[in-house]
Symmetry: C2
Subunit: 146 residues, 2 copies
Amino acid sequence: MQNIPSRFDSMLRKLREMGYRITPQRLAILKILAESKGHPGAEDIYALVKTDFPTTTIATVYKTLAVLKSIGEVLELEFSGDYNRYDGKKPDSHPHLICIKCKRIVDPDLTSLDEMAAKLASQTGYKLISHRLDFYGICPECQQKG
Amino acid sequence: MQNIPSRFDSMLRKLREMGYRITPQRLAILKILAESKGHPGAEDIYALVKTDFPTTTIATVYKTLAVLKSIGEVLELEFSGDYNRYDGKKPDSHPHLICIKCKRIVDPDLTSLDEMAAKLASQTGYKLISHRLDFYGICPECQQKG
DNA sequence: CTTCCTGCAAACAATTTGCAGACAG
DNA sequence: CTGTCTGCAAATTGTTTGCAGGAAG
């Protein structure tokens, strides 16, 4: 568990380090990413930013997300049908558990994936950069609702 | 390893069973999926079909892929930036090893994922339907080319 | 014959881009 | 001041859809 201020601070520091300008819109987006418990999409973030900065547009959100992606401070989960989801709390590759009904995404505790990756790299000669592991299923709540 | 005729035949049989019509275009697409060594995208398939059936359109390819997906005879690998890729040889969830330079996708031999999934299901109460495990890296050839 | 499929074109939706004016440093 | 960022609108791209004619069964 990381506490909220530290993620916000480290994102902010990294932005400064890399020479990016600190604008109110960017601060708002950082705050949302650092605080959001789930894995919001661009539109979710946009809706939240707009309450404080009504003139903001979705393009600004996407541009800021692109910057954060490029400096490794946000993890983008791509979905070709649905919109992409963003994880600013744990920006490095990690497994996700996705409910195909309610679309909720949670982070399960899983070990042994790193060992698997290391073995794979030595077996194949690939230089592994990242990975993606998603499990698709139906969460307990949705199972009850039928 | 499955041999080529059997995948083609089982796809064809499944289509028949489910009451879908067997058209020359569909046969051509089945053949491509059953024979292709890689993980072609819709445009790749389209280009191949067009050599035999010049009037075919990409819409037909997508519609056929949708049918095959719905009966579980093809696995769709979604990418939000790039085009999706299709695997007709092994239509069930399995790990992939993706080169971020040349975009080649291969199937590594990995065990232990099923155990991991089983443990996850019992720990979380989710009913797991499928999963997706992609490793992104740089293949040996691309490492040499710099 | 009847229903499903094909081919064409237009529609879609998430994301990206170009540009002029605004603002951070 | 200067270069980057914002906001707006238009472009992009892979994929989907509606519909009329054509073919499978």
